[in-house]
Every structure is written in structure tokens, then in C-alpha cells.
Amino acid sequence: MVRRFTAWSLFFLLSLTIVCSKRGPEEDESGPALIPVVCVSNYPLQYFAERLASPLVKVEFPAGASEDPAYWQPGAEDIAAMQQADLILLNGASYEKWLADVTLPQAILFDTSENFQEQLIASEETVTHSHGPEGDHEHQGTAFTTWLDIKLAAEQARAIQHALGTILPEHKETFEDRFSALEKDLAELDAEIERTISSAPETTVVFSHPVYQYLERRYGVKGVSVHWEPDASPSPAMWKEFGHLLEHHPAKWMIWESEPLPEVVEELERLGVGSIVFDPCGNLPDSGDFMSVMRENIVSLERVFGD
């Protein structure tokens, strides 16, 4: 009788131990801690946010699946997800054209270029129109690839560090330390681009798209922009216009956003114009990260300015 009682008691204690041990060690009384969600509008912001705060925050890039985040239009699900985020990092400089059409809590919106508004470059793509008695209207924006001026990119990273500090004040020091490392990397990148371009400052180039304004200004690149798509052949009128352009702007290189069509490259070479790719890196790169893409860009620039 006593032995049976002892056996049952041991069995009960063993069962209790197994049940209790099934609770995870990280789960406390209040349940698992929620990780703040940070939404970003382009890849450079994602890279900076992740370098500064991963894994303390979850960085989401809803426009990442689109071809070009600058012309992305959020769907109902994207808007709902952004409304639930803890922070939305915007590039500013009229990058987020979708922002005018959507309703988001202002409290979580953070414009990373807010602190250098006076340094933004007015867009040349200005269309004016008038209708009725209201007089002329001007649809003017600003050039938006601010991060191509690496000093401005560092300012944006600093703004992100500040914004992250507002949602996770207990980790401010971590963000500061990580920002110091990121700032150092960006400063090296900036110096490298500057050194490359300044080796042949008189070199003239043609940009396939008007997205390099900040690169031009920061590093003194003498360039003119056309509106050519890398995945499309220019029309005869465009070639003709390009010929006229070369007459007063004798460029030897064309800088593309992505790899152009081989026949276009050939035709350009026939005109004495070489082609290189300088990826603005607005969207997720196929491989590597922001830093590695920029280093590849520097290698491409060396071909142009190292001649």
C-alpha cells in the first residue's frame, strides 16, 4: 500500500515538473515583448534603419516589391500596415508622391530630409497650368535622390537615429554608437567618391535619367540628363536630340541607372560614348547592400574619371 502511494506520488511530481518545464524561459507574466515596427519608403532608409536598430526593431519596406519605390502606389493592405507601424521613415524631398493620397497618423511620420530643406534641389520637371479664374499653378517638386550626396545621406541616417530614439528611448546609446560607425563608413565612401571624381574634374558625362542631381552638385560632376530607359531603345528623334546634345556637351560617357540594352551600348560606342552603371540604389539590390553597391558604383566611376 505504502509502495503504491509512493509510486503514484513520484509519478504526479514527475508530471508536474514536465508541465512546468514546457514554459519558455523568455516568456514572463506579461507575455513576449512586442518589437516596434518601422516602415521605410526606400532602400537607403531601410539600410540605415537596420544598421542602427536591427534586431531591436523590425524594418519593413512595403514598396520594396515594386519596380521603383519613387513611383509606388500603396494598396489598401499597405496603408493598413503602415497605419499600425510605430514609425514611418520618409525620404522627403517630394520622394513619396503617394503620401498626398493616403491617410496616415502624423505622429508616426518622420521626414529624414526635414533638417536640410534649404539644400534640396528644385526639380527641373516643372509643368504650369491654369484653369478658371485661379491663375497659374505650378507643379514643382524637388530632386529626391538625396542620398547620392553621401553627406546628406549621413544627415538622413542621423535623423533616423533621432527618430529611433523617440520610440525606444532606452536604447538611445546603442543607436548613437551604431550611428558613429555608420557615419564613419559613409564618410569614407564620400571621400572615396570625391577622390575619384576630382581626379578628372573636367570630364563631362550624360546621365540617362535626371536622378543624379545631388551627385552632380556634391562632387562637381559636369553632366546633362536625358530621359532614356535602360530597358528600351531610344526613338530616332531621341538619337537625333542626343546628337545635338553632344555638339555642345561633348561627353564621352553615359551613366545609367541599370544595365542598358546591348544594341544601345553599341550605338553609343559608335558615337564615341561609353556606358557605365551607377545604381542609385533606391530599391533593394539583387545582391549585397547599400555600401557594396556604392563601392561598385565607385569602380564604375573610376572608368570614367580615371581615363
Binding site: 496603408i79 498626398a100 491617410t103 497618423p105 502624423q106 516643372t126 509643368v127 504650369t128 497659374d136 505650378e138
Partner: protein, 393 residues
């Protein structure tokens, strides 16, 4: 006792006019002070509860009361407009959360509140049906407004012109109802909420029209050059924002210069509130920052001063009614002298007469109390609405 009540009832039923007059006098005398007290308590509750959960308001210098009544209770008196820059100024200070509001337009008699999503969050307004605002041209409607306007999810509501004579002015905008709010028992129940940008579209500051660079109809083009297209007034403007034309809607110039009526500020803490208030004290300052609870407190002080005067008037009226009742009963006794003598002759005691008269007074008084209670019950059901009409709108 029952026989006394029976006789009293018969007497009262026979003298309908006298009894009716007495009951009316007593009912009114009882109802007036109690009803007034009830209305004042309700108004105090409504005004103070909303004012207390709204820490600060930034608006144009001018009547603080108009600013508070428009911002908190959507009153008809419009304060002078300020610009969205005022909200950015608060945001830049990082001392609190600014919530801009533009309370100017209406849909019939229901105010359209142009604001940001933060308004719904800070006021803890929850969606009962549907979802929150997501894109331009959508609205979320208060529970009472939805019932009164008989609208539900997916229906359209059209903004009303500001004036019937404003033929060339603001175009009505059709907005889609995407959510109905849970009842909050505040002014928000009677409001229609839209994004600030949608409110600016109602005003005509933002608009959507055909792409002027793609126009082929020569009657729509006034002048065309390489960098500029001037369209004629014939250019068609959209009066509804749909998925198809949403991208055609645009705003001109700096949105920070666009009008709003006020900025509700939720400071981080008491220290931030004090610092923020201090920043609007300069004589050159074009804006004022006010604490709604202080303004409402001042308003309530005035209301209570008026209430004291009313109380005094009601006390005099009550005294006059009481004296009139004594007179009526004294005269009634004299008129009923023969009737009382007959009762004596029938063998009844003096106490029976007292019981008879007490029963009559009791019935009259109880009927008055019953009527007064009924009126108070009715008032209790409509006092929120009455307070809104009397004190708020």
C-alpha cells in the same frame, strides 16, 4: 381612510379646472429648479469632460471661447484661420503631439472635421463598422450622424455649399463612407471625419481634373507652350474621388500654408505643457495657446451666475405658488361651508374634515410629483441634445 380618499377624489374630479390649475402650478414649481439643475449638470459634464481631455489648443488670436467651442464642440462660430505651419511648429518643438483640425464645412447640419488619424487615436474613437480612413475622398462617420443621415458603409455623403448664393464657389464633394464610429456620447457622434487633405479638396484648394498636357479638345486649351499649358474654365473638375481619378488630384504650393482652424496639442508631460505655453506669450505672437478647461470653467462660472439669479426668481415664484395654494384652499373651505356643516350634521367629527382636506391636497400633490417625475424622465433622455443646442451649438 379609503372613504375619505373616495370623497376627495369625487370632489377633485368635479372641480376639474381648479384642480388642473393647482396641479399645473405645483408641477411647474417643482420641475423648473430640478430640470434646470439637471440641464446645468449635464452641460457642466459635457463641457468639462471634453475640455479636460483636451490639454491645449493653438489658434489665431481672438475669442478664446469661439476657438474652444469650434474645436471641441464643432460650434458654428468660426475662429480666424491659421495655417498648418502652426502644427509643424509644435511638432518641431518635440514638446507634444499636434493634431490639426479644420472645422468649417458641413454635410447638411453635420460638421465635417478635417483632421489627421491622430485625432481618432487621441480621442479613443473606435470603428464600430468598416475601417478607418485610408485614402483621399473617404470619410468616417459618427454613430448619431450615421443614423440621422441614414447612411451606411459604402454610401456617399456630399458636402454642402457654404452659402446658397455661392454659385461659383466651392464645389460639393462626394465622399465615400468607409467606417462608422462607436458611440462616444460626445460631439464626435454627430460629426463626419475626413483627412485634412480631403477638407482642402472640399474647399477647392486641392482639385482633380483632366491631365492638361494630354488635352486634345481645342476649346479646353487657352494657351500652350513648351513649359506651360493654360486651360480654359471649361476644364472639367472631378467632384468625386475614385480609385480611377485619385492620382489626378493635386495641391498647389506649400501645404504648410494651407488653412486650419486650430491645433489640438497633447503635451508630453506637465513640464512640456508649461514650456509650450510660455512660447506663445510674446506680444508679437500671432497665435494664442489656451487651456480649454480654463475657458470652459469661465463659461460655467457665468452660467452658474445666471443660474443663481434664476434660482432666486424660482424661489419667489414657488413662494407665490405656495401662498396662492393656501389662498385657494382657504377660499375653498369658505365656499364649502354648507357642505362641511352637512357633514357635521351627518355626525362626522372635525378630524374627518381634516382627513378629507388632507386627502385632496395629497392627491393633488402626488399627481404633481408624478407629472414632474415624468417630465424629468423625458428631460433625462433628451438633455444631451438640449445641452448641445442650448449651450454648445
Amino acid at each position: 381612510m379609503l372613504d375619505s380618499l373616495y370623497l376627495a377624489w369625487k370632489y377633485i374630479s368635479f372641480n376639474k379646472i381648479k384642480t388642473g390649475t393647482l396641479i399645473a402650478c405645483i408641477t411647474i414649481t417643482l420641475f423648473l429648479p430640478t430640470g434646470l439643475e439637471m440641464l446645468l449638470e449635464e452641460s457642466e459634464d459635457q463641457l468639462m469632460s471634453r475640455a479636460e481631455v483636451t490639454p491645449l489648443i493653438v489658434g489665431a488670436k481672438g475669442s478664446a471661447l469661439d476657438l474652444v467651442m469650434n474645436t471641441l464642440y464643432f460650434g458654428d462660430e468660426l475662429p480666424e484661420f491659421i495655417t498648418l505651419e502652426a502644427a509643424h511648429r509644435v511638432a518641431k518643438s518635440e514638446l507634444g503631439l499636434p493634431v490639426p483640425v479644420y472645422i468649417r464645412f458641413k454635410m447638411r447640419n453635420f460638421p465635417i472635421i478635417g483632421t489627421t488619424l491622430d485625432y481618432l487615436n487621441m480621442r479613443s474613437l473606435r470603428i464600430a463598422e468598416g475601417r478607418s480612413l485610408a485614402v483621399l475622398g473617404e470619410c468616417v462617420i459618427g454613430a448619431e450622424a450615421a443614423v440621422a443621415l441614414e447612411v451606411s458603409l459604402g454610401d456617399g455623403v456630399i458636402s454642402s455649399p457654404e452659402s446658397v448664393f455661392d454659385i461659383g464657389g466651392v464645389y460639393p464633394l462626394k465622399m465615400k463612407v468607409v467606417g462608422v464610429l462607436e458611440r462616444s456620447h460626445t460631439s464626435d457622434d454627430l460629426a463626419i471625419f475626413v483627412d485634412l487633405k480631403t477638407a482642402w479638396i472640399i474647399e477647392g484648394l486641392g482639385h482633380g481634373h483632366q491631365d492638361v498636357t494630354q488635352l486634345s479638345d481645342p476649346t479646353l486649351i487657352y494657351k500652350r507652350s513648351e513649359k506651360n499649358v493654360s486651360a480654359t474654365s471649361k476644364l472639367y473638375h472631378f467632384n468625386e474621388i475614385t480609385d480611377e481619378n485619385r492620382e489626378a488630384f493635386h495641391f498647389h504650393g506649400d501645404l504648410n500654408a494651407y488653412p486650419i482652424t486650430a491645433v489640438i496639442v497633447f503635451p508630453k508631460d506637465a513640464r512640456s505643457e508649461t514650456i509650450l505655453r510660455g512660447r506663445y506669450l510674446s506680444p508679437e505672437e500671432r497665435h494664442q495657446i489656451i487651456k480649454p478647461s480654463e475657458v470652459i470653467d469661465g463659461l460655467l462660472q457665468n452660467i452658474f451666475r445666471i443660474k443663481n439669479v434664476l434660482d432666486a426668481v424660482i424661489s419667489v415664484v414657488a413662494l407665490a405658488t405656495f401662498l396662492a395654494m393656501i389662498l385657494v384652499f382657504a377660499l375653498s373651505l369658505r365656499l364649502r361651508q354648507r357642505e362641511i356643516e352637512t357633514i357635521f350634521k351627518l355626525g362626522c367629527r372635525r378630524g374627518t374634515i381634516v382627513r378629507l382636506l388632507s386627502a385632496e391636497i395629497g392627491i393633488i400633490f402626488l399627481t404633481s410629483v408624478f407629472l414632474c417625475s415624468t417630465l424629468l424622465l423625458i428631460l433625462a433622455n433628451v438633455d444631451q441634445r438640449i445641452v448641445r443646442v442650448l449651450f454648445i451649438q
